[in-house]
Symmetry: C2
């Protein structure tokens, strides 16, 4: 494989990135301008390049722009302005049940002629041991117990060995992609508002979300309107959240 | 407050962003070059600008560069090369217990002379109802039950009403910041490897992680070395994870 050539990006690249991150704000009111589908597709491509756990890509994206579905979906988002005014809503879904199929996909579509032995063994043997929590999560309980014994002598992975931990596992990788998606929209000149305030029962039903899926956020996206930002940006003093050791 | 002026970033900004996202790979081997502290600080500043749930910023970052701590930490990362060779390790921690203190911080440090009434009411009344799950998660159970009744007639929030859901809640916002951090390092010409393969018991003890904290990943960071990328990049066919509605 090739190593990307550029190790030292130009200052202008850093400035561009800073500008994107700093100008991204949660936008609560959009103009009625549509986002071209090609832009949304490009942003999704960039979202999918996020790093993720064992490359199992446990994410799904539901892009909603048809008024028949967008309207009830905005209603399920408690009618908030961001949802009501956005030309596109994207439900971002973390999946705990796709790792097996995605393991197969990685092996079946490996980009080089031969799948390295270590990779084949990982996806066909180790991943199933690691991610399968078994009926009622019982394999997970067993794995935790074995970890506690083995862990007395040497470092061992202790996680994600329960159905609840699998939800954190999937949400985490999916959120990495979500951040790429929001920044990509900004880089394209559009904006977004990540919403957690929604009725998940109604949303799951409207979008027919699979049983193993959790909508971790619904992204309202579009062109920033006047007064689209509701308040000043505030961040905690860094000393509260950063520790140097 | 001011609205950022730039609505339509230049094409060069988009290209810069694309380049950063595309050149970011999980790097498993770093040179022994240090990252200047100022660069790490800048990357953390950009990480902290990630959107997050109710602006409660439930994240912490432990930046480890002292050899006395970095070595046992790399050992707790199962000795993987990324951890062993990185000049800096950053433990990224999701906190389920800081929302109350951070609510206070938002109100105490509001960037404008007056805290709007709706903001004061949100952080002093609504957030405590929403995020406090009570002893043994019993408030959460009650909130879920009330939601089921009220939800028969109108959309209601149903989440995060359990201690387990709070873990997903915190991990999600923290992962958004983690992605900013990785991209920021890339924008600065450095690289990273987000690691989930570590012994959380040993890591928690080494870093003295608070009880409400979960290390959602440990980021190895540094200058990309030759053969730092282990395999070709593979992403699922988009049709498997994107649905247009």
């Amino acid at each position: 494989m090739t190593q990307p050539a550029k190790q030292q990006p130009a200052d202008s690249q850093l400035e561009a990135f800073r500008d994107i991150v700093r100008s991204r704000r949660s936008i609560r009111r959009f103009t009625d301008e549509a986002i071209p589908d090609a832009v949304v597709e490009d942003c999704l491509d960039l979202a999918m390049l996020a790093p993720n756990s064992s490359n199992l890509q446990p994410w799904s994206f539901y892009v909603v722009k048809s008024p028949e579905l967008k309207e009830p979906l905005a209603h399920a988002c408690l009618g908030q302005n961001a949802a009501r005014t956005a030309p596109v809503l994207i439900a971002i879904v973390a999946r705990t049940g796709t790792w097996r199929e995605h393991s197969r996909q990685v092996l079946d579509n490996w980009p080089e002629p031969e799948v390295p032995k270590i990779v084949r063994s990982y996806y066909s043997k180790i991943a199933p041991i690691h991610y399968n929590q078994g009926p009622l999560g019982l394999y997970g309980v067993a794995k935790r117990a074995m970890g506690m014994v083995a862990g007395l002598r040497r470092p061992v992975p202790r996680w994600p060995y329960s159905p609840a931990a699998m939800k954190v596992w999937a949400a985490k990788s999916t959120a990495l992609a979500a951040e790429n998606l929001m920044l990509a929209l900004r880089a394209h000149g559009y904006d977004s508002c990540p919403m957690e305030g929604f009725d998940s029962c109604r949303v799951n039903k409207l979008l027919n979300i699979p049983k193993d899926g959790e909508v971790i956020m619904i992204l309202a996206a579009g062109r920033r309107a006047e007064k689209g930002i509701y308040g000043p940006q505030y961040r905690l003093d860094k000393s509260k959240v950063v520790t140097w050791r």
